[in-house]
Amino acid sequence: MSISRTDIEKVALLGRLRLTEAELDTMTDQLAQIVGYVDQLAEVNTGGVEPMAHAIELANVFKDDEVAPSLPREEALATAPHHDGRGYLVPAVLGD
């Protein structure tokens, strides 16, 4: 499957990356090469094979719904680049 530069621009937006013109060029070439290699999976007959999501398939793990201490707000906020002591601060989302 061929990958165009437009595809790469779209994927960069979906992946929340901002790539320079040079990076877009390199990425287009490299992804085409890697995806070209990965395309060999198409030749494997996987009819009737269930997808394997985890290496050791476990039954669902349940636990009681009990109140327990969690990370205090100030400690969670301490890792953030910008906060006001109550919540995370981000650039304005609405109003423009």
Binding site: I3, R18, Q33, L41, V49, A55, E75, P91, V93
Partner: protein
């Protein structure tokens, strides 16, 4: 020097008998780090003061006859993707350069409970993505056997630290070979346990269905000791296995009777270096001389393992790394500059009457995400995010991600069938010894193909180990990989120890 030639198990015996104190031991490893790490670059941070303080405390408790843990007083180095409360955990990434973890990874808590001395944090490929440790945002690590060569990766710092005698033990993580491959290239022992054997709680996620924490040491005995310390069920990790953990160190010296060793036809294909092939065949002969029987087996889907891995791992990575958004953790782009940039673009598009362009223009929040991630991530991490986002995007999910999950099951079934006939599988860890730093730069696909022999164990979830099994004519270590069925770590360690006791490769040290 002689102190540094000894294994962790020997150090422990001397600590227990009072022949050496933890302070003396820790000081000698710190001196070794001061002497050689400028050339090797294994450590991102050496925690000398904290380590010595801890050593003093453990010595005092031992002197008073108070209870002490299984690794009491023994230095352990830790890969920089395991969280330690209040300490930096950078994943060798600019985006986490200032991140201090608010909690302990379970393996860190277990090391502390065992009274290990945490001596420092080791270098790695950024977010564990790579096989050379060259993708670290901070420094290169050099192979102690030849400083112009890679130590392998992504746990290259941990492998090099053990190989250079800067620590007796180290932790790494293995998503596609990141413990075993550097162990092989640096001539030490490294092990990836069964998926779920060791808790992933507090391990910074790369590909959650493949990631596993594991030990490095100078001998199989040492690796057994460290594994039994960190393994076991953890309610904080829902994929952790609720199965009893044997005392591996108590049984590791017992040879296995009637051992059936499988060798894989597909492992000896074109591309395998002749010296590596000779070393692996010689290792098979060693097993034969120890009474094991050799059996040719086939893993017919192994040739698809790298392709399968490079769909699944980047897909999971692109999803896991979405959390680095400049909001919750670490780095954020300069907002004033970001808003000025957006405003300039807006004016330019408005001036040109480009309505479509204006509609497509990022919002301030999206531009903040995009600039933060563009500035915070290195090229390999960006490549994996792009690859994973592509494989998961509308129209491609079935063709790539779902298809890869199906081939993954076929790869696992190959192993299940093979293990009906053999107890362990032996083979190469890489097609060739350590390559030169910079040799693979600019060719990501060639770099991915280095993972040929390692990724299958992660896809299948089985335990695998690499131990020293030879040297090239140029003096570079060659590793032997052993693989076992799920949860058969005890068999794997005992089988590896049989080889180790019959050979001297693990006693060879890099000349630094």
């Amino acid at each position: 020097m002689s102190l540094l030639q000894q294994t962790a198990s020997e150090h422990l015996r001397k600590l227990e008998s009072g022949e050496v104190t933890s302070v003396e031991l820790t000081e000698s490893f710190l001196r070794r780090i001061a002497d050689v790490d400028e050339r090797v670059g294994a450590f991102l941070r050496v925690e000398a003061d904290a380590a010595l303080k801890r050593a003093v405390e453990i010595d005092a408790r031992r002197a008073k006859g108070q209870p002490i843990g299984r690794l009491a007083g023994l230095p352990v180095a830790v890969k920089d993707n395991l969280c330690e409360r209040g300490h930096l955990t950078t994943c060798a990434s600019r985006i986490l350069a200032n991140f201090r973890a608010p909690y302990d990874a379970t393996v860190i808590a277990r090391l502390r409970a065992a009274d290990a001395v945490l001596i420092g944090r080791t270098n790695m490929d950024e977010f564990a993505m790579g096989g050379s440790t060259e993708n670290s945002a901070f420094q290169a690590t050099h192979n102690p056997w030849d400083l112009e060569r890679t130590p392998g990766g992504s746990s290259g710092g941990s492998a090099a630290a053990v190989a250079a005698g800067m620590t007796p033990l180290a932790l790494g993580s293995d998503t596609g070979g990141s413990i075993r491959q550097p162990a092989g290239l640096c001539g030490v022992v490294g092990m990836k346990p069964t998926y779920g054997r060791v808790s992933r709680f507090g391990l910074v996620a790369f590909a959650s269905s493949l990631d596993q924490v594991g030990p490095f040491g100078q001998s199989v005995e040492d690796v057994a000791l460290l594994l039994e310390t960190i393994a076991g069920h953890d309610p904080q990790d829902s994929t952790s296995l609720d199965a009893p953990v044997p005392r591996y160190s108590q049984t590791v010296n017992q040879p296995l009777k009637d051992l059936r060793i499988g060798w894989v036809r597909e492992h000896f294909g074109p591309g395998l270096d002749s010296e590596v092939e000779a070393a692996v065949r010689a290792a098979l002969d060693v097993y034969k001389s120890l009474g094991a029987t050799l059996h040719e087996i086939s893993l017919p889907h192994s040739k698809y393992a790298v392709a399968t891995y490079y769909v699944i791992a980047p897909s999971e990575a692109s999803s896991n790394l979405a959390r680095y958004d400049g909001v919750h953790y670490g780095y954020r782009t300069d907002e004033t500059q970001m808003l000025a940039e957006l405003e300039a673009e807006r004016k330019q598009l408005a001036g040109a009457g480009d309505r479509a362009g204006l509609e497509m223009l990022d919002s301030a929040l999206v531009r903040m995400y995009r600039r933060t991630r563009a500035e915070g991530f290195g090229p390999e991490v960006k490549r994996r995010i792009m690859l994973g986002t592509y494989a998961l995007s509308a129209g491609y999910y079935d063709a790539y991600y779902l298809k890869a999950l199906k081939v993954r099951r076929l790869i696992r079934q190959d192993f299940d069938r093979a293990f009906e006939k053999v107890d362990l599988i032996a083979g190469p860890i890489t097609a060739a010894p350590a390559f030169k730093l910079g040799e693979m730069a600019g060719d990501p696909l060639a770099m991915y193909l280095v993972d040929l022999y390692t990724v299958s164990a992660n896809l299948a979830g089985i335990p695998a180990l690499c131990l020293p099994a030879g040297h090239s004519k140029t003096g570079l270590p060659i590793g032997l990989q052993l693989q076992a069925p799920p949860l058969q770590e005890e068999r794997l360690l005992r089988g590896a120890r049989m080889y180790e006791q019959a050979t001297n490769w693990h006693k060879q040290r890099a000349n630094l």
